[in-house]
Symmetry: C2
Subunit: 580 residues, 2 copies
């Protein structure tokens, strides 16, 4: 069973920061407020089970893999689909940014000397994952299964030993008391904020429904079972960590994560402590890696739907898959640097992205049940509708309680994405219209031809190009651009002596420019032969090693680019392969 | 008179860091050692006058502008020329890195809140200067003359008011005593190190001899006079700053430059203080800017000599001048980041680069006098020989006393440059040999032709390309690569219906790859027609706005690149200009 560990790493790894996010908010209201982390964690576990139930139904209906993008495109429409697409792109980017940042925090907690270099560490992880993926790393490798199991074993042991310690020694005296009324300073606003922060523990459970086809057949059954198991595991780990954090009366510390504090108090800085920190870092990096299969795939699907640039369309050459990998890495690094590697500020963006896609996926399922009405659709509808409403409420809580801490950025970014998508769509659609051809009337038509061959002297590259021009049996003229006055006569004499059978024109360019004289010559030839199609043949030698291109050909590339852009000429590149 | 201020900014701006560099070394030996900054400054002023005398003779002999590169290539030989070229490239890069770093230090001294962002500030300055230069900023602008005059006025006033204050109030009690024996901890090694650090005050005086042709005629007379004036000014400012630093008993402070400390003690944090800091920052940025005309020019000269890639060769299009500007900026930014914006570690590299070029220029002049022996050559020889020997001794002092602080880097980098230059030279020379043609025997030869046109469907871009192919009246075949099995038949039917008069071949590529099937088809055609030259015609539409290219054409570019590289085919790009 390798599907569980790899796909679940995204969801399970959130245990590394979920509890901490709750405490970070509550601690503002003083230590009396920390008790509330327990009911909040309880509510989050409840939400978790609701989401698991809802997503099991997505899996059942979309055995081909149903991300929020496909479900909403399919059932709601174009606009909802683009919102889902935008939120998923944000989700993937922040999965990378948040996971590597949390991974770096796990490491710097254990090795304090690295604390000042956490951002560098995070960026290095992104670059490492990027390079591995560009080189064609396959997720299916068995080694990828280990970190997840090791992490589960580590955190479970931590919880068991921790609770045993507490029972043996009694609850420590300094545990914050359980109170029935809200302590001073703890407002409902703060409680909701803590709840929404804690919902970051739910990010990543969408991954399994996206990847249903990667399971062994019967896929939907295996995927659904994996999802259920994931729910139980995640609930246990998250609730256990929250409970221990409360029992140990821990507060967030910028130099040490909550997991690290729990492990230190439980084991001391011994081998089990380092085991917990190392496996936490590993599963977080693995979680970041899952986005590297999801993002390029989604970008490719959206490119096919003409919402993303064609360069993201997946091809067998893997070339375009690489564009997705690089784009994801750049976006994640920019986010990490822009937020100074501060995970507390990245998480609101992440959670909003994820809950937007949750809401839209559930809403899409609601529409689907209403349309198709299969047997038992009422129960199914009820589950997805509850899921949609609850997710939407959580989303609103986010947007309101976290608006100043970055939520406004998402409120800005998602409409920008949608605008961009629709511009891209209109662009491709417009071109398709312009290129459409009536097969019965629009036949090819022929035209007179003229070849222009810019030559830099008399040498074998030029000879090669002249040979080609003569083989085509079309009218041709060579053009020499002299930088010095005296070069003009010299070249004419050489050409006459060589006598290649094609006339030579010479112009003088005192400012050593080549592009403008060439454009002028093209215009002059065009004026002389009105209905003629001009081809510029560029003699180009191909060096033996690709990096030798750094030493050549910039001018040829520039000429090609500008001529294609500014004039209606065909550009032919006639290669001469160097042997040395 | 605008030549003085602009060309002199490089040299005069060194006052901002020269004295500080001496004190930074001496302070290690305790406050008793600070007195030695005065005799060291005296020795540096002596060296300055020797260099001025020597360079006046360079100006006299090279009215066309004589950098160390030209003088050594001309008089010593290829090897010395490449060393001079390498050291000048290093010199220009470090002029930028050191000047903007010192400029940032001048600003953060006055505005302490910016202290933590000094590196960011330095990098921003480089980017700003780069952009202005790419946009064609001309140095001749009158506004560029002001900062230098304002700086001279500022520092002169500072020195006068400072000395007046000291005389009025008597020398402050805490001035370190003048001693005749070396205080404990002050070794000869340390003294020599302080001297070599102080020689950073001499960097930049080579700029005038490089730029002789920019003076009004008679150029050599004006340039020589400017150089003399510069010498007097630089000596006054440098000696004055050193004297005041001693009288005020100042020690280097990482948060405030020596100039800032002097200005603060003299004026308090009043308007004159801010005037001194602002003009210091301005002249330093102006100094960095001078390297932006020198570096691309030198790179262009060296490219003509086949020592640098052809892309640096200056053309009227300014395109290749831009390459020099960008290369210089990247190199300077890398240096600033690699050294964490620490000017004390950049200066040894800078000074070594500059003194290497000083030494070689003087040595070149010595060889020149010995060869030509004009009237009065003995005196001239004596001056340049003394200059060469003294510069060489300073260089050795540098290399030895600063070896561990980065001098080893230069000892590594300059030979690497020379190796690179000779590789580039051999590469270009080898290609010239391979392309040479015997005009009497090697005439053009013709060959059978075959056109291959990859088509993605039946549309107007394809029609445009087929029209072109038919106009050439050469055998042609269209190739369609299907990604889905059923597309094969569909396309054949469409083609038959359209009937363009050129046969269609269809292949199936299950992995959605286009490049490999195309390569295979080329090989297949080549095997069928042994002596045939194959041309691949690529249908390409040209969007109306250049940035629309981001949405298209990546595949076409890739095909073009790989086909040219891997097969002996001509690539024709047939443009279809979009109207919308
Ligand atoms: K999770
Ligand atoms: K995720
Ligand atoms: K996650
Ligand atoms: K100087
Ligand atoms: K310089
Ligand atoms: K300088």
């Amino acid at each position: 069973w390798k599907a569980l560990p790899i796909l679940s790493s995204d969801a399970l790894s959130s245990v590394a920061y979920g509890t901490e996010q709750i405490l970070t908010v509550l601690v503002v209201a003083g230590s009396m407020a920390l008790w509330y982390s327990l009911p909040i964690s309880g509510a989050i576990v409840g939400l978790l089970f609701l989401l698991i139930l809802s997503y099991r139904q997505v899996i059942d209906q979309y055995p081909g893999g149903g991300g929020a993008y496909i479900v909403s495109m399919d059932n709601i429409g174009w606009f909802a689909g683009t919102i889902a697409g935008a939120s998923l792109l944000v989700d993937y980017t922040l999965t990378v940014a948040v996971s590597v940042t949390a991974g770096a925090a796990a490491i710097t907690s254990a090795v304090p000397i690295l604390h000042d270099h956490a951002v560098l560490l995070s960026v290095s992880f992104v670059l490492l994952i990027m390079i591995l993926n560009l080189r064609g790393l396959r997720e299916s490798g068995t080694i990828f299964a280990f970190p997840t199991y090791m992490f589960i074993i580590g955190i479970l042991s931590l919880i068991l030993v921790g609770i045993f310690n507490v029972l043996k020694g009694g609850i420590p005296a300094n545990v914050p008391p359980v109170t029935s009324h809200l302590p001073e300073g703890l407002t409902w606003f703060l409680l909701l904020r803590a709840f929404s922060s804690g919902c970051s523990a739910l990010t990543g459970i969408e991954a399994i429904s996206n990847a249903t086809p990667t399971f062994r057949p019967p896929e939907t059954k295996h995927a659904a079972r994996t999802l259920a198991l994931l729910g139980v595991l995640l609930a246990t780990l998250f609730a256990g960590v929250s409970l221990l954090a409360y029992l140990y009366h821990l507060t967030p510390d910028p130099k040490q994560t909550i997991i690290s504090q729990i492990a230190e108090q439980t084991f001391g800085r011994t081998i089990p402590y380092y085991y917990v920190q190392a496996t936490t870092a590993l599963i977080l990096i693995l979680a970041a890696n899952t986005a590297y299969s999801g993002f390029p795939l989604l970008a490719s699907i959206m490119a096919k739907d003409k919402l993303m640039p064609r360069m993201f369309m997946t091809r067998g050459d893997r070339l375009n898959f690489s564009n997705g990998i690089i784009a994801l890495s750049i976006a994640a690094i920019v986010l990490i640097l822009a937020f100074g590697g501060d995970i507390d500020r990245l998480i609101p963006l992440y959670a909003i992205g994820v809950f937007t896609s949750f809401t839209l996926a559930q809403l899409g399922m609601v529409r689907r049940w209403l349309k198709h009405k299969p047997t038992g659709w009422r129960t199914k509808l009820a589950i997805n509708a509850t899921g949609a409403v609850v997710c939407f409420i959580v989303l609103m809580i986010f947007a309101i309680t976290k608006f100043h801490e970055g939520a406004w950025l998402i409120v800005l970014v998602i409409p920008m994405f949608i605008l961009l998508f629709s511009q891209i769509y209109r662009h491709y659609q417009g071109i398709a219209d312009e290129l459409r051809l009536d097969r019965s009337t629009e036949k090819p038509v022929t035209q007179d031809q003229l070849l222009i061959i810019p030559v830099g002297g008399v040498n074998r590259v030029v000879r090669n190009t002249i040979s080609y021009a003569k083989s085509l049996e079309v009218e041709a003229v060579a053009l020499y651009i002299a930088f010095e006055k005296e070069d003009q006569e010299k070249m004419k004499n050489k050409w006459a002596e060589w006598d290649p059978g094609i006339p030579l024109e010479v112009t003088y360019s005192p400012y050593r420019s080549v592009i403008q004289p060439l454009l002028d010559f093209v215009d002059q030839m065009k004026a002389r032969n009105k209905n003629c199609q001009i081809t510029v043949l560029i003699p180009q030698f191909i060096p033996r090693r690709w990096w030798h291109n750094l030493l050549h050909n910039q001018t040829a590339l520039m000429i090609r680019f500008i001529l294609l852009w500014k004039r209606d000429v065909v550009i032919g590149t006639v290669p001469f392969h160097l042997k040395k």
